[in-house]
């Protein structure tokens, strides 16, 4: 079988700094190859440089597609291939679609440009393509603008656009990462289905091994610009040869927590009854000038978090789980009962001060959760300035060093650690800093708002391990917000499942995840498997 695309010794560098160090792979017609790696491994750059779409990159090597070397042909010729023979779909459909044109127009434009269709004909074909991707009411949806579609529909529209010219090869760059878990499966099924029907080859770029297992025929693993291993999916997963591949496969979070049902006598760290959180939204039109509407993000939430245990909150984006976290932190006003160790949040900052020591937080994005203009010492020591303002500078520094070493960051590893700035650390290290900042005031409850979803899988495993150790050693309670069922499985004692602001199911982790009663929980669990 001759290869559709044959890449030989592909090297990419920026300003003389190599990013991809001579990799070889090939894709046969109708084959599904997954390119796997962590962020910074060069997988996206590899795919983009096949179409020479990376600005300022020096590319060398050979990439033969249907007998032509994509890396040496004229730009004009390449432009003919882009879109017609090789199409691409991106991670974030909102930014890849032009917000000023309807979806139908954008697809029709591709057809007119690449297949020379007439206007009316292309409009009809566009509707057919939209229908093929399973969007309901294709007639109406073709006339919608991108913002009027849901995230999944946008991704489907992107796929319709990419498939408009029946390409022989589809480059899919993290096509499901920006979507909710339940949608991921659907998009993946759609891609498989269309792939089979059109007989096209797919190069899927992803960091998600579940996805690879479900979708691909062959897998190629990249690490730091090197292709360390490739082979059939079943083969690679069953007998990984390279250490890095093994590390990736074993990066699924491991459960290592103190088990057991909470002592009923122990007073819960946090207890909520009939909790309701709403915030004002502006009403459209002239009415919005005079009064505000209100949007209820969480309603009727009941839960309690016993000491030393983790309550997992799982749900999709927009389900109200982050709002719940902010309310638990006393950062959003709420109705109903929310007790923190027998006390409640009040409106005044001064009255809340004592509670702030009890409840601390770690946010999702390690890049926006640390002020870029403060040193590590200032960031981590901040809590002591507030809660132990009498502490002399030297003692405060001691405490900062201690907190940092608890999260595994020491001077020996990072010289001059205290005077460094956040930009000098990687995502995982920044997340450790954020944990140290929360720990230094010795809280009893940590609110973890998607603490690992911005991190690579191997780093995620380390951070979760750190959190588990802290819980064992300090008896901390966690309120863990996440969309990732694997994380919940590894961390939580009790789980609540949220959908559209309501708790649809709650209970012990094993019971909820293994014998889900609610249909929604079943979809969630199935999507994660």
């Amino acid at each position: 079988m001759s290869a559709l695309l044959d890449v030989k010794n592909l090297r990419v560098s920026f300003d003389g700094k190599p990013v991809v160090h001579g990799i070889d792979f090939s894709i046969g017609p109708g084959e599904k190859l997954a390119l796997v790696g962590e962020s910074g491994s060069g997988k996206t750059v590899t795919a983009l440089s096949l179409l020479r779409l990376v600005p300022n990159a020096e590319i060398s090597g050979k990439s033969t597609f249907l007998g032509r070397d994509l890396l040496s042909i004229q730009e004009r010729e390449l432009r003919g291939i882009r879109g017609r023979d090789i199409a691409m779909i991106f991670q974030e459909p909102m930014t890849a679609l032009n917000p000023l044109f309807t979806v139908g127009d954008q697809i029709a434009e591709v057809l007119q440009l690449k297949r020379g269709m007439a206007r009316a004909e292309s409009a009809q074909a566009a509707i057919q393509l939209i229908a093929d991707t399973g969007i309901p009411e294709p007639q109406r949806r073709a006339r919608s603008f991108p913002h009027q579609l849901s995230g999944g529909q946008r991704q489907r529209a992107m796929i319709a656009m990419a498939l408009a010219c029946a390409p022989k090869l589809l480059l899919a760059d993290e096509p499901t990462t920006a979507l909710d878990v339940t949608l991921r499966g659907q998009i993946l099924d759609l891609l498989s289905d269309l792939q089979r029907r059109n007989g096209m080859a797919v190069l899927m770029i992803t960091h998600d091994l579940n996805l690879v297992r479900r979708f691909a025929d062959r897998v190629a693993v990249m690490e730091n610009g090197h292709l360390v291993e490739q082979g059939a999916v079943a083969e690679v997963f069953a007998r990984p040869q390279h250490a890095y591949t093994r590390k990736l496969i074993e990066s699924k979070p491991v459960r290592d927590v103190v088990e057991g049902v909470a002592d009923a006598a122990a007073e819960p760290v946090m207890q909520a009854g009939n909790l309701r959180v709403s915030y004002p939204v502006s009403l459209p039109g002239i009415r919005g000038w005079f009064k505000k509407g209100s949007f209820v993000a969480v309603r009727g939430a009941d839960f309690s978090i016993p000491p030393g245990q983790t309550l997992g909150v799982v749900g999709e984006s927009g389900s109200g789980k982050s709002t719940l976290a902010l309310a638990a932190l006393g950062l959003l006003p709420h109705q109903g009962r929310l007790g923190v160790g027998g006390r409640t949040w009040s409106r005044s900052t001064a009255a809340n001060q004592a509670l702030r020591r009890v409840v601390q937080v770690v946010f999702q994005d390690p890049f926006s959760s640390l002020s870029p203009r403060m040193t590590v010492e200032d960031i981590v020591g901040e809590g002591l300035r507030v809660h132990e303002s009498g502490l002399p500078a030297e003692a405060r520094r001691q405490r900062v060093v201690q907190a940092l070493s608890e999260v595994g960051m020491t001077e020996a590893q990072f010289p001059r650690l205290l005077t460094r700035y956040p930009h000098e650390f990687s995502g995982g290290q920044r997340q450790r800093l954020a944990i140290a900042r929360a720990l230094i005031v010795q809280p009893r409850l940590l609110v973890l708002d998607e603490p690992t979803s911005a991190l690579d899988v191997t780093i995620q495993k380390q951070v979760l391990g750190l959190l588990q150790r802290l819980q064992r050693e300090r008896g901390l309670s966690f309120l863990l917000i996440t969309h990732d069922v694997d994380v919940i499985r590894a961390m939580a004692h009790q789980v609540i499942v949220m959908k559209d602001g309501e708790i649809v199911e709650s209970g012990q982790v094993g019971q909820v995840l293994d014998e889900p009663r609610h249909a929604y929980t079943r979809t969630l669990v199935a999507a994660a498997a």
Binding site: S39, G40, T177, P372, R373, T419, Y421, H423
Partner: protein
């Protein structure tokens, strides 16, 4: 002066761009390289973001040398009395030492006829100092900005000569001296105006952006009303009612000069206050004031710093235009605008208009070069290159 109220005309707001986050889901390594300015230095010592910006600024040679030159010129003009003055720095007469530049003495001291302060340009006095044993150390340019050269060989305005390097103006004052003092006043005025404008702009912008909601709404409407007041008319009216003075000008221009910056600071605060590090600070129990001071403000100063040189040049231009129209500084004060007006009235006396034009062009160019370099240094998109 119209460039002054809204500096935005001069430049693209840099923050509109830098506020934008990298594409959703960009790998962290990517984001890091985006903000990495000086990779090889990082391993040696921790570099603060401000220092990285400074290192980038230094790498732009045009901007850096503009800064050096501008500072040198400003320092030089601050010592204008030592460079251009009609009194000697040091004098010896009849075995006595004098420091006329500090304390002038009556003419009788040097053998003159009158009790009035000595005019050292008087040929008679100069002759007295040429006698053996006496001497007078004159500054480089022996004219003060207010000195009228009564002993010029040509009618006023007189063309450049060995005595008056850039000629005299229509009242017989040395143009070079007036330019030097005029430059000093312009720069000091611009500095004061910039400092006041920045302080007002940052404070008002911070209040609006941080508290948002009704505060923001009310303040924005106030700015709209305030900004629609006809500034020029007010200036003309005030020039008629009050004695013109630099202080009055400063107050009037300051009243209207903060609004443009306030908008940028407000936008920065609106963006930064909802970032996770501010939420984390709230969760730690910091007060609003502490959050503003320690977290939001340091991260919101990029547009302020970027606009500094442009604000300076706009302020110099504002003062010059008002002086040109006769609405500015009181008569007799050395000012670039007044010199330009003289140049217009005496179109034959090319040395007045050309030299003033030259000084203005150089000053404004230096500031613009500095501003460009600063903007590039603080622009996160350029930082990666």
């Amino acid at each position: 002066m119209f460039g002054w109220t809204r500096v935005s005309g001069l430049t693209n707001p840099p923050e509109a761009a830098s506020g934008r986050l990298p594409p959703e889901g960009a790998p962290p390594a990517d984001r890091q390289s985006r903000i990495r300015g000086v990779p090889e230095k990082e391993t040696q010592a921790p570099v603060s973001p401000a220092r990285r910006a400074w290192l980038r600024f230094k790498r732009s040679r045009l901007g850096f040398w503009s800064l050096v030159l501008f500072c040198a010129l400003t320092l030089l003009s601050l010592q204008a009395e030592l460079i251009s003055n009609d009194k000697p720095l040091l004098a010896r007469y009849d075995g006595q030492w004098y420091l006329p530049i500090i304390r002038n003495v009556p003419e009788t001291t040097f053998g003159g006829d009158f009790q009035t302060p000595t005019d050292f340009l008087d040929p008679f006095i100069q002759k007295q100092f040429e006698k053996p044993g006496n001497f007078a150390l004159y500054p480089l340019n022996p004219y003060h900005h207010s000195t009228i050269n009564y002993f010029a060989k040509e009618p006023n305005p007189s063309a450049p000569s060995a005595e008056n390097w850039l000629g005299t103006d229509d009242r017989g004052r040395d143009v070079a001296a007036r330019l030097l003092y005029g430059f000093r006043i312009s720069v000091l005025f611009a500095l004061a105006l910039t400092v006041i404008g920045v302080a007002l702009g940052v404070i008002t912008g911070a209040i609006q952006g941080f508290f948002g909601g009704k505060t923001d709404l009310a303040f924005q409407r106030f700015i709209e009303i305030w900004g629609s007041m006809p500034e020029l008319y007010l200036l003309i009216i005030f020039a008629a009612v009050f004695d013109p003075s630099i202080a009055l000008l400063l107050v009037l221009l300051s009243l209207f000069g903060w609004m443009g910056l306030s908008d940028y600071v407000r936008a920065e605060f609106l963006r930064n206050r909802q970032l996770d590090y501010v939420r984390a600070a709230r969760a730690l129990g910091l007060s609003n004031w502490q959050i503003i001071w320690r977290h939001v403000l340091p991260n919101s100063l990029t547009p302020v710093v970027t606009f500094l040189p442009f604000r300076m040049s706009a302020a110099i231009l504002a003062l010059t235009s008002l002086d040109f129209l006769g609405l500015g500084v009181p008569p007799g004060t050395p000012s670039l605008g007044e010199l330009l007006a003289q140049g217009k009235n005496n179109i034959d006396a090319w040395w007045i208009s050309l030299s003033t034009f030259g000084v203005l062009v150089v000053t404004l160019l230096l500031l613009t070069f500095m501003g460009d370099a600063l903007r590039d240094a603080l622009d996160p998109r350029k930082a990666e290159q």
